[in-house]
């Protein structure tokens, strides 16, 4: 039952995107009303999330309290992590320099796949020449959903806050589109809960609060 709901969610989301896209394009074609005044813009980017992990290695996950408090100092290990990230920003230019819209992305963190839905703003900061390259800043803030995520039995992933400021270059092409190179920061919160298991005497449950803090580097296209 739950699966069906998830599928309905996913399918309806695709419809919303299509609807949004088609109406936007239609509107642009007809050059009417709102979209005549505010040009539609799509920025689709792919990239990586670069970061590290720091985790305790000497935790004894047994059924008895161990190590006894204070006996052993915690030991940590560091590991590098790179994950895939893609996103598409659909919006309109609200003035000559600023575009605002909705960002939908897919971020894979190993087995956990988060699908953030966020409000985004892109603003050109610096442009020496009309029609030339510009320095562009952007920020996305929203909520990471877990619609694309599948959980192991007994585990539940919950999404959370997403904040991602970036800065980068917009390199216009002759046909009116532009290349994008963006670098920035990506903060994403998620929870990973393990249901209670065991028997009436010995049981265990865990809840992992994840704060992904990554440097993001993305390449993409604007049209």
């Amino acid at each position: 039952m739950k699966n069906i709901l998830i599928y309905i969610n996913k399918i309806s989301l695709i419809f919303v995107i299509l609807l949004f896209g088609s109406t936007a394009i239609n509107a642009q074609d007809e050059k009417e009303g709102f979209f005549r005044k505010h040009k539609f813009v799509n920025m689709t980017e792919f990239g990586g999330l670069f970061g590290r992990l720091k985790y305790q290695t000497n935790y004894y996950g047994g059924w008895y309290p161990y190590p006894y408090p204070g006996n052993y100092p915690d030991q940590y290990q560091i590991k590098n992590k790179v994950n895939l990230s893609m996103q598409t920003f659909n919006g309109v230019y609200i003035d000559r320099k600023t575009a605002a819209g909705i960002t939908i992305g897919v971020d894979g963190y190993g087995e956990t796949v988060l699908m953030p839905i966020a409000l985004g703003v892109r603003r050109s900061l610096l442009q020496k020449k009309e029609g030339g390259s510009s320095l562009q800043a952007g920020i996305d803030a929203g909520y990471s959903t877990t619609w694309l995520n599948e959980d192991n039995t007994g585990f539940h992933t919950k999404g959370g806050l997403l904040v991602s400021p970036t800065i980068g270059y917009r390199l216009p092409m002759r046909n009116g589109s532009a290349w994008l190179i963006n670098i920035g920061y990506r903060f994403q919160r998620a929870e990973y809960k393990m249901d209670r298991n065991g028997n009436e005497v010995y049981w265990s449950e865990t809840n992992e609060v994840r704060k992904y803090k990554r440097m993001v580097l993305r390449l993409g296209i604007e049209f």
Binding site: L53, W63, L125, L126, R210
Partner: protein, 430 residues
């Protein structure tokens, strides 16, 4: 515009500094909550000297119940016995507490109460419930015992008992974001007891010999001049001709996993977690094994009425079995025969007051059945939203039911519409 050229680099510098300051290290913290047991050691002297008759105390962690005349004895698991004056079932009075370390089981004959005191069996004079006196003790009877899934052990060499207390522990660990789940080690743990489930006795009520009513889950029972107790593997016999001082007579090995003892007519029904032993008890000093009725590995409280045995099987510490009620014909004691099985939710203690059958369904509540026909047992009433693990019907008019939340009494004159008479609530752990 000149201003602009100066402003933006500063902003960019500031922004990059801000980004640089934010660490790019994932921060994953797992909160692990687990319930476990922590050992503690008691010396034999502590156990033997800490018996005391005290004023009434609040109910916290209930175990078995036992009824004698107007008194209800409720086991406060391994702490002692609450004594309830039930002369008026609408207003039961908690009158006293008898502190007995390690007590799990009890039985009463006339004015003598028998109970276990970790490894010993002790007897008390309960003529005055507010001032109970220790009268006798049989030393070193049991080597281990189980209650609430926790097994204690006795080491005669060092004269100590090792018992365990449960604790809920919360740890916080910095983990690597799900790439390594803090998974507890698998539980290689097995206990075969259900000590906190007492069932109930058949329709006979308090017998003529002056004993009280225990449960189908009881490990202590009195028949004639004998006190029968079962340990994990043995049937132990005590002669109580001199009631104040029991004398150990014999020991019959039964194999592992013995749970309960239930006397019916001149038979003893002994429930183990693989089946039901039937002993002939014509000579109470020398019970003889007749037969065994095997079933799936399960917890199995048994009650018997009119040569029909009602056995509930449930999943739990005793094994992974289906949850069901088995109705077994024991007319021919040499060849017990399964008549029919009924699906249940999570049946624990049960009691029969023929033709009414009462079954506790743990968190699913209490059910009353019409068992006039063994082949067609019909549900009459289902009281939901209460936790029920033990029931004792008392002489056709009312029943005692104990659950995690307290001791309930119901008027059962109409088994289709049982009325709540009173509740003694359990003190909530804050």
């Amino acid at each position: 515009m000149k201003n602009n050229y100066f402003r933006w680099p500063v902003t960019i510098l500031g922004l990059s500094l801000a980004i640089g300051n934010l660490s790019c290290t994932d921060d994953c913290e797992t909160t692990r909550t687990y319930r476990t047991t922590v050992p503690f050691v008691l010396t034999v002297d502590q156990i033997r000297n800490e018996i005391a008759s005290q004023g009434p105390q609040e109910l916290v962690n209930l175990g078995k119940i036992y009824v004698k005349d107007n008194y209800i004895f409720i086991n406060e698991l391994k702490k002692g016995l609450h004594i309830i004056d039930n002369s008026n079932p609408q207003q039961p009075q908690n009158i006293a507490f008898l502190k007995i370390p390690g007590v799990i089981d009890m039985a009463v004959k006339d004015n003598i109460l028998y109970a276990d005191n970790y490894m010993d069996v002790v007897s008390f004079d309960i003529t005055d419930p507010k001032n109970i006196k220790l009268t006798g003790r049989v030393k070193d009877v049991f080597n281990q015992g189980t209650a609430d899934g926790i097994t204690w052990g006795y080491s005669p060499g060092s004269q100590t008992i090792t018992d365990y207390e449960t604790k809920i522990i919360t740890d916080k660990i910095r983990t690597n974001c799900g790439f390594l789940i803090v998974n507890p080690n698998p539980i290689y743990y097995y206990a075969n007891d259900m000590a906190y489930y007492a069932g109930s006795k058949g329709p006979t009520g308090p017998s003529a010999s002056g004993t009280g009513q225990g449960g189908s889950m009881a490990r202590f029972t009195i028949y004639d001049d004998f006190l029968y107790t079962v340990s994990q593997s043995d049937l132990l016999l005590f002669n109580i001709k001199a009631p104040t001082q029991p004398v150990q007579e014999s020991k019959i090995n039964l194999g592992w996993g013995i749970e309960t003892i239930f006397p019916y007519k001149d038979k003893l029904f002994i429930g183990s977690n693989t089946g039901m032993y039937i002993f002939d008890n014509k000579n109470p000093a020398k019970p003889e094994r007749i037969t065994m009725f095997e079933h799936a590995r399960a917890c199995d409280p048994v009650v018997v009425a009119n040569d029909i045995a009602y056995v509930t099987l449930r999943s739990g510490f005793c094994g992974a079995s289906p949850n069901r009620l088995d109705v077994v014909d024991v007319t021919n004691i040499y060849a017990p025969r399964l008549l029919k099985s009924y699906e249940m939710q999570n049946p624990a203690g049960l009691g029969i007051d023929f033709p009414s059958l009462f079954i506790c369904e743990g968190q699913y509540g209490l059910k009353s059945f019409d068992a006039s026909s063994a082949m067609d047992i019909k549900l009459q009433q289902h009281i939901e939203k209460i936790n029920a693990f033990d029931v004792i019907p008392l002489g056709g008019k009312h029943l005692l039911m104990v659950g995690k939340d307290g001791l309930y009494q119901y008027d059962t004159s109409n088994p289709k519409d049982m009325k709540l008479l009173s509740i003694i609530p359990v003190k909530k752990e804050s």
